[in-house]
Symmetry: C2
Subunit: 344 residues, 2 copies
């Protein structure tokens, strides 16, 4: 316990200088002779002096803290990228002298925004990371209005100018659709997010573009929208399998792996062989994807890179002297081909 | 941006009192007439004055921050309780005026401990939550020595006295073993953590006690120890199925659900029907447990309660005047019976 009570005056006494000199040298506010500087740092190290975080923070007007809040995973769903995303942000932040402060995600938008305002007003954080970004996202609009540093994982409206990093979900769907067409399918269904989902619309645009390039007219019946859970995947797939034979899909792409698991169950229950008779591709590559029967073709996002780079972008933003241009980074996902989409 | 620049002097001017009076009333350091108090708070609200977090922190010598670091999920494994645990801690902490600060978990023990020391020395946090607690856990020993507030999810050595909350894993294994015996099995294997695992030893003690109560002598060959992944579950189960018929298990309990998925695959590959011919029970009730074939009997931990109560215990500890006795809370898990252990 003693170490934390060493004062700056004791350091000054040991180094034989005034405490103002110690303070200024430690905070890089003046230059002194090399000899004096060495005496001060030797005394700091010998006594184990550590400047109080709050005192340092008050001097620098920095909290060295990044705020992050994310929506809880709904029951029965998985957030398979959460731990990787968090841990890589923690490491990148630490390398910049920062830590992450987490706070609850309130469904009540005004209450949630109030937390952001309070964190800004009280100097709790120097910037925010945000994810699950939607069109006209109220958090984005608030932070733009407050001119407060933030970087998002995911884009919003194209006309809003701010720093973001994203994985090209449209490219993921392009790769998956091309792969499924290469297996001889053309009636390809999609289990998608609701129409107001920015992430969902990015992804499905890749499907539409590849279908058009291949001269396949998409039947609106093939697109089913709902939640990313087993039950929706199961029910929506049963409905697709009940369509008249001439328009009934023989393949399916889903917006997450849990929906794909439900789809696989529905197709099996109808007596079809997955892969050979019906192709199913997911999205996320959750840990179970390789172990289900058959193993699931899916899209893997480079989450390690997203976690590292989002912090690098944010710290650059915090340190940037105005005016500084928004930075944007688009990363490519990877198609992981397994048996669920292979004819043989 | 204007709001954050309102000063205490402006509040004093509007309220018609000295700024010292405003400061003391806001910080509950003096009592004034109700009328004066109302004038001050009206001015605070009208001007949108917010005391700086760092200034408040410096006065109170509190950071209103709780530190938490946890080991990253290994590749191919899932941490199905992480998001629920975190989100419920965030909510409970917010209710006490606290937020959670996260930092990386370094495999290098000394480096990891240095982070704890730095957080204490610099006043970054008022206390710690810790999980994945082992025997002679160096983090526990450090914080006991520093006499710094912490509460753990999980116990350590019985002779170390500190506040913890835990789920009775031994009780979970007792329930699961009893259930499997009730289905007519007595040669029951266990896929367990390594022998130095505190969590693993708590769980397996429940198996040993029920086996003994039922007069079943445990064959040491039935216990296989390794990592909580699919591959270990698969390989260890193949080995169990190759034992001579008189000692070959007809049932299996695993320490997490991912091992159980590997075990199910191995048993299927040997042509046995899960449930009818071979029982498999897991631990965790991860979201996929109900959707695998057959649905998995498993143990569910009350993670919402753990997340809430661990914060309540810690804040009580932070606010406690010395000496204060360590508090311990043991919660019961729940056996979820599905088809993987049912004869019919």
């Amino acid at each position: 316990m003693a170490k934390s009570h060493v004062t700056i005056k004791e350091v000054a006494l040991t180094a034989g200088v005034s405490y103002q000199t110690v303070s200024k040298v430690i905070n890089h506010q003046i230059q002194v002779t090399k000899e004096t500087e060495k005496r001060i740092w030797d005394a700091v190290n010998a006594l184990g002096y550590k400047p109080s975080y709050t005192a340092r923070s008050l001097r620098s007007q920095r909290s060295y803290t990044i705020g992050y809040s994310w929506p809880p995973t709904p029951d029965g769903q998985t957030n398979s990228i959460l731990d990787t995303f968090l841990q890589n942000m923690f490491l990148a932040a630490e390398a910049h002298g920062y830590y992450l402060l987490s706070f609850p995600y309130h469904d009540n938008t005004q209450k949630h925004l109030d937390t952001y305002s309070e964190m800004i007003d009280t100097g709790r954080v120097d910037g925010f990371v945000m994810s699950s970004i939607e069109y006209n996202d109220p958090r984005v609009l608030l932070l733009l209005e407050r001119n407060f540093p933030f970087v998002t994982f995911g884009r919003s409206n194209p006309n809003l100018s701010f720093s973001w990093i994203d994985v090209d979900g449209g490219e993921g769907f392009r790769q998956e659709t091309n792969h499924i067409i290469s297996q001889g399918h053309y009636k390809i269904g999609v289990l998608a997010w609701p129409e107001d989902s920015r992430v969902g619309n990015n992804r499905i645009s890749g499907y539409f573009s590849v279908m058009e390039q291949n001269g396949i007219q998409v039947n609106p019946e093939w697109i089913r929208r709902g939640q990313g859970c087993f039950d929706f995947g199961y029910q929506a797939t049963l409905e697709l399998l009940e369509l008249p034979e001439d328009i009934r899909p023989t393949a399916l792409i889903t917006m997450n792996d849990m929906m794909a698991v439900g789809a696989i169950q529905a197709v099996k229950n109808r007596g079809l062989i997955i892969g050979k008779e019906f192709a199913i591709g997911g999205f996320d590559d959750f840990p179970m994807a390789q172990y289900i029967d058959p193993p699931l073709t899916t899209i893997r996002q480079p989450i390690v890179e997203v976690g590292q780079q989002i912090i690098d972008l944010l710290v650059a933003k915090i340190n940037c002297e105005e005016p500084c241009e928004p930075q944007t980074v688009m990363l490519e996902p990877e198609l992981i081909i397994r048996r669920s989409t292979l004819r043989q």
